[in-house]
Amino acid sequence: MALLEIDNLHLAMRSFDGEAQVLNGITLSVDKGEVWGLVGETGCGKSVTGLSVARLLASPPARYFGGAIRFDGQDLMQADEATMRRLRGRRIGMIFQDPTTNLNPVFRIGEQMIDVALHAGATDPAILGLAPGASSRARRRAARSLAIRMLDRVGIPKASERVDDYPHQFSGGMRQRVLIAMALIGKPDLLIADEPTTALDVSVQAQILQLLYDLVGEERLAVLLITHNLGVVAQICSHVAVMYAGNIVETGDVRAVFKRPAHPYTTALLAAVPTVHSVRGALQDLPGAVPDLIHPPSGCRFAPRCRLATPACTQALPAPVRLGPQHSVFCHAVTEVA
């Protein structure tokens, strides 16, 4: 049993124009030490998947119907808000895309980190290194030194001074480090990172990815890394799941999927990435557009754009086809490898 198991999750979201079928049976599992990249273009539902694990979507307009999300055996779809709150920050950490807007500008970063640490410490005083009956003052002190240690860990110089600084006194890359520190201060087992490097400069991106890579190794974290950038996936992910219009179309070991992509969408994605060898002016693109999720096509949602499509594709969603011990694809056109 993996740490996180998303099992056939279905999600619809109300909007002005109707109900969009956002997640159409997502199955994914992430275990300790694994870094799963969840890739897809904008609107495919990857961010929503991440938010769903932490149950952060408001229930109208979101409507879950079918499937489960199991964390350490417990079905989060059945959990109440109090249970979820205990998990957030303490066992599930999250970081988001834009470090500029994700830190409260009028509070010192130490203050925000201390509150997260205190919250995690409330369920599990061992995090703060204290006995269960410790006074609130002792807990605050312990939380503060923990915050300083975490800042140091993520590479913020002069952490003991910087802990009292405000977010605007940090650069973009430093702020993302702070957010990582804040997400990990409660010693969670699972980290969900939603486009953590998209808003950063390329050179800073590399540093942040290296940081995440090191932390995964040191803490045996399970990571769900949501991104549209295949380069990022190639750099630090151990596994990858490719998403299209609310469905997962291919999953597996990252090297296996990238070396021998089986799904036509995966192939197109990989081909669209310009490399040193690409012919100038010849950018590959995929004809057609992402389907309307309010009136989605029946069967395989990629069928309207797929050059391998057959009438069978619009009848039903493709069942998974195993291509290797760590490689599955969801496509009618692919036959089982012996």
Binding site: G89, G93, I95, P105, D115, L179, G186
Partner: protein, 325 residues
């Protein structure tokens, strides 16, 4: 910044008082006075000199502590202000304290429960509160709590039969505290209650509305999602984090209201026979006694500028990006 504003204000006040129709000297001289007598009085008061000269002597007088004499009370205006200004200030401070203490949490909660019944209720009550004339509200409060129920005194700052605590600040409740007289504190507060409530309703409603819209905006910010995602409790997020983010919007309104309440204090002071600058200025206006009116206007201007300085400082406290250096 303060100096040019006050200078301009003094000039404006002077100009307006001289542009208004009516001849205060003739009034002061009395209906029986002859032309010569009026002219003599004008010469004595210095009103026959060119306007620029009059303004100059007025200005130098202001700066040296001579704010003129009140024809009605026959006292220097500054001496009158020393008594009446603290009375009004105490009322305004009490009213704003009530408005802030109730308005800020009300606005926060209204936004948290947006579009549900607590929000609708608070929005209707706010509009109603802003529309309620405070002199009418004062009368209603008197009718209910003083006349019918007898819980609170009808008017005045202090019972006539009692000796008030010794004058230190002019704020009766403070002076009573300083004198260590618990009974006096109670009496002062009891008299302060109804007029302060009458005055507080309008700013309370506006502060609630401002906090509400600011909080709605803040709740949509990314950092609130991060705070939720890391497990912080709703109560902590709203009352510690969001509150601080949303509060600066109310600061401007608070500053403006202090000015408005000071200027419009006569409405509540009339109803409750509260001896403040509102009544003082109005009586002076009705008797065409200009020095007190100018004095009151300038005093309000000074207080308003000082309050805005404090508010600017508070902006810095609430938002570190605004602080100097």
């Amino acid at each position: 910044m303060i100096v040019p504003v006050l200078l301009g204000l003094s000039l404006l006040v002077f100009a307006i008082s001289h542009l208004l129709p009516g001849d205060p000297v003739a009034l002061a001289a009395g209906p029986q006075a002859t032309k010569t007598e009026i002219a003599a009085l004008a010469h004595e008061l210095g009103t026959d000199q060119p306007l620029a000269v009059q303004y100059w002597s007025y200005l130098t007088g202001l700066l040296s502590g001579d704010w003129g004499q009140s024809v009605l009370t026959r006292r220097p205006v500054l001496a009158d202000l020393r008594i009446y200004l603290p009375a009004t200030l105490e009322l305004v401070v009490a009213a704003m304290a009530l408005a802030i203490a109730i308005g800020i949490p009300a606005g926060l909660l209204s936004a948290v429960f947006v579009d549900r019944w607590p929000d609708y209720l608070s929005r209707i009550l706010s509009l109603g509160a802003i529309s309620m004339p405070r002199f009418f509200l004062g009368l209603l409060l008197q009718l209910a709590f003083a006349m019918q129920l007898g819980w609170l005194p009808l008017n005045g700052r202090y019972p006539i039969i009692e000796d008030p605590p010794p004058f230190v600040t002019g704020f009766l409740s403070l002076d009573a505290i300083l004198a260590g007289d618990a009974g006096a504190v109670w009496l002062a507060l009891a008299h302060l209650a109804l007029p302060a409530i009458a005055m507080s309703l309008s700013p309370l409603a506006t502060i609630t509305r401002m906090m509400r819209s600011a909080t709605i905006e803040v709740l949509q910010q990314d950092y609130v999602l991060t705070e939720r995602a890391l497990g912080l409790s709703r109560r902590l997020i709203i009352f510690k984090y969001v509150a601080k983010n949303a509060m600066s919007s109310s600061l401007t309104v608070i500053g403006l209201y202090v000015g408005w309440l000071l200027g419009g204090s006569v409405l509540v002071e009339t109803v409750f026979d509260w001896p403040g600058i509102g009544l003082y200025a109005t009586k002076a206006i009705v008797t065409q006694d200009f020095m007190p009116v100018m004095g009151v206007t300038l005093a309000i201007g000074v207080v308003f500028v000082l309050v805005n300085l404090v508010i600017d400082l508070l902006y810095g406290v609430l938002n570190p990006k605004v602080r100097l250096g």
